[in-house]
């Protein structure tokens, strides 16, 4: 039996229960998602987009689901202590997929900004949420009719080109979603404080979590978001996350993601970003500690003169696996994309990077740069890298490159001559290598904190997660 079968059956059995527990806005997209999921199933290793991560295997165990919305009896504000000086954030918690709604004294957004449970927001602001919920994904998965052919199967348009095929994990998430987070920043509103959301993964039994995040920045809005994934329990967790981001005209968003989970955690995160005229988005994801991670980022540049900075840093060792799959879709002229991903792989870890830049016919004067640099510290660590530049416009400036290397022997010896031990010298080089990605972080207290955490990580002092370290 293929892995998807149990999810198909589960959905059929629980359809009513899901409806009773969630708002109609979330419920409205389930059946369509289910049809897609049933048609395409979970990808196997032959699927180009998933060739570096075994989805079938990850989804084959029988995980439990918290369908009845049982509350986990923790108050995250008690469990997590704030220990970053100078970082005053609006701090929120999501426990598995449930927004922790208990008011926190510091967490009071200003100027009409909404930060709340997605399910609750759907109930309170149905027009607002339904305008965006699922729509960013839908647009991303809809091929432009004039450039790509396809056919209708089961009442759905199926494109010829595989890249616009709906994503099975996104479909699964949409089918089963019960809650998550909604962030809304109104027109010309600036969130003066950074918004930090800690995703706490906790359970006493093996668990599948489907978390959904919707971020909307209206025209001229500005915000800085920080998401931290933390695992709190030593059970097998499979977490899917779909995040949709709408960046309106002239909006500015910095979105940082920090994963600090344990070896038993499996993370499948799909991030869809839609950018309009003159918007500027910076994404920076740091995989500090994990089990198996597959991050997909799809950025659609819909408005001219938009800028996307897409950065990632990965530190993996033991049997860890981190796969970043990115697609930046230049649909219109005069946009800029900068992409930098750096991996440090130790022991038997596996890293993968597939970064596709698509510059369509109309996207003249595109400037695009993509770099993937990797350090394999041991001979048993493996890196797969696949930068892909696909250009259909003629007046563009595009560059891409990938390297896989070892630690620089000459530099190691130079440091040893100065009295630095071999281990310490290696650490300094690894630290310097990922440092480039961390230096791209604009939030200074976060940057300092990340440098500190990365150093601890390389020293092996961060094997287990012991709570939020960033708030």
């Amino acid at each position: 039996m293929k892995s998807e079968q149990q999810y198909i059956e589960l959905f059929q059995q629980c359809r009513q229960l899901l409806s009773s527990q969630s708002d109609v806005v979330l419920d409205a997209l389930r059946d369509e998602a289910f049809r897609i999921f049933k048609r395409i199933g979970l990808p196997d290793k032959k699927a180009e987009r998933y060739k570096y991560t075994d989805v079938q295997e990850a989804f084959s165990p029988n995980y439990g689901l918290n369908l009845n919305r049982l509350q986990f009896r923790i108050n995250p504000y008690d469990v997590f202590k704030c220990n970053v000086p100078n970082m005053s954030t609006l701090l929120y918690f999501i426990v598995n997929d449930a927004f922790h709604s208990k008011e926190y004294p510091n967490a009071k957004p200003s100027g009409g900004i909404i930060i709340s449970s997605l399910n609750e927001a759907a109930h309170l602001y149905p027009d607002l949420v339904s305008k965006y919920y699922g729509q960013i994904v839908r647009k991303a998965e809809t091929p432009s009719i004039n450039s790509e052919g396809g056919q209708i199967i089961d009442g759905e348009f199926v494109p010829l080109r595989k890249n616009n095929e709906p994503d099975a994990i996104t479909a699964l998430n949409t089918m089963l979603v019960q809650d998550g987070l909604f962030i809304y920043v109104p027109k010309n509103t600036v969130s003066d404080k950074a918004i930090q959301v800690v995703n706490v993964l906790t359970s006493t039994v093996d668990l599948l979590v489907n978390r959904r995040v919707l971020v909307v920045l209206e025209e001229g809005a500005k915000a800085k978001l920080l998401f931290c994934d933390e695992s709190m329990s030593d059970v097998n967790m499979l977490a899917t996350q779909v995040m949709e981001v709408y960046a309106g005209p002239s909006s500015e968003l910095e979105l940082y993601e920090l994963e600090e989970t344990n070896m038993k955690n499996k993370r499948f995160s799909n991030l869809y970003v839609q950018q309009h005229d003159k918007s500027k988005v910076t994404l920076n994801s740091i995989s500090l500690h994990n089990g198996l991670t597959r991050n997909m980022t799809y950025v659609s540049l819909e408005g001219e003169e938009s800028v996307i900075n897409l950065y990632g840093g990965v530190i993996a060792d033991k049997e860890q696996h981190v796969d970043n799959h990115t697609l930046v879709d230049h649909k219109v002229p005069k946009c800029v994309s900068n992409e930098l991903f750096k991996y440090v792989l130790d022991d038997n870890s596996v890293g993968a990077f597939a970064g596709r830049i698509l510059v369509r016919n109309d996207a003249q004067k595109t400037e695009s740069q993509e770099t993937n640099a990797n350090l394999c510290v041991t001979k048993t660590a493996h890196m797969f890298t696949q930068p892909m530049l696909e250009i259909y416009a003629d007046d563009v400036k595009c560059n891409h490159g990938a390297t896989v290397g070892q630690l620089n022997e000459a530099a190691l010896f130079y440091m040893r001559q100065r009295g630095i031990s071999l281990d310490e010298a290696k650490l300094l080089l690894k630290f310097a290598f990922v440092g480039e990605v961390i230096d791209k972080v604009d939030l200074e207290p976060l940057r300092d904190r990340l440098h500190y955490l990365v150093e601890k990580r390389f020293r092996g002092e961060l094997n287990k997660c012991s709570g939020c370290r960033l708030c």
């Binding site: 620089n408 300094l428 080089l429």
Partner: protein, 254 residues
């Protein structure tokens, strides 16, 4: 201080040093000269424990210890410093972090407490003055984008930070302009004490005008073939190495 006996060393299976004997006592400065490829840098690298070189015969003792049994970092802690002929660029590692790691590693080896950030920066400022190293350079990554001369100056700055008892200068003068040569050599002389010794590798007399050697050795094809006083360097400046080769050929025939 340093005693090298019948030292043979090879790289990639090729023998470069073929029986070196050399003794350096406390407070002495020895100059080492010889044509390109003679093995001068090889000898330096063997002294500091470069892993690419294999010692096939002979011994080196340093202050009574078997130097060959020590790791490169331990040799450094014991007081050996090498100014590299080609200093390495280390992008992303700041001079400050690099030097702090080095200084504190040595302090740990000697059973001392690490320096606080404040103490360290103060020392760094003082030592920078010795070689007039621009503060801009010490704020950058190690040697990254430094000019050839700046790299050499930075080597002597590091020497000032680590206060070695035995320093090897491998062509520290090459790449320095006339003024920089004087500054760097003066800096070296300020650091020199009655107890500390040095092996100075150079091709030119001009460095030895500032750093006065007690002995001058000529390395030829992996062997020290001639040793003299400071006047030997002047003679080499004047006449090159051919006459030494000729002398040696005659000797070999005898």
């Amino acid at each position: 201080m340093l005693e090298i006996k019948n030292l043979h060393a090879s790289i990639n299976g090729k023998e470069i040093l073929k029986g070196i004997n050399l003794t350096i006592n406390d407070g002495e400065i020895h100059a080492l000269m010889g044509q390109n490829g003679a093995g001068k840098s090889t000898l330096s690298n063997v002294l500091v424990g470069h892993p690419a070189y294999e010692v096939t015969q002979g011994s080196i003792t340093f202050n009574g210890k078997d130097l060959l049994a020590l790791k490169p970092e331990e040799r450094s802690h014991e007081g050996i410093f090498m100014s590299f002929q080609a200093p390495v660029e280390i992008p992303g590692v700041s001079m400050v972090n690099f030097m702090r790691a080095a200084v504190n590693a040595k302090r740990k080896y000697l059973g001392k407490e690490p320096l606080t950030a404040g103490e360290f920066l103060k020392i760094m400022r003082e030592k920078r003055k010795i070689v007039e190293l621009d503060s801009k350079l010490s704020n950058r990554s190690v040697n990254e984008g430094f000019s050839g001369g700046e790299k050499k100056r930075n080597e002597i700055f590091q020497m000032a930070m680590l206060e070695p008892t035995f320093a090897i200068l491998d062509e520290t003068d090459s790449g320095l302009d006339v003024d920089a040569l004087r500054i760097v050599a003066d800096g070296f002389n300020k650091l020199k004490t009655e107890k500390t010794s040095a092996l100075v590798i150079t091709h030119y007399q001009r460095l030895l005008d500032y750093i006065k050697p007690d002995f001058v050795h000529v390395l030829l094809d992996g062997n020290i073939v001639k040793t003299g006083g400071p006047e030997l360097a002047l003679e080499i400046e004047d006449r090159g190495f051919d006459w030494i080769k000729a002398e040696r050929a005659v000797k070999n025939e005898e």
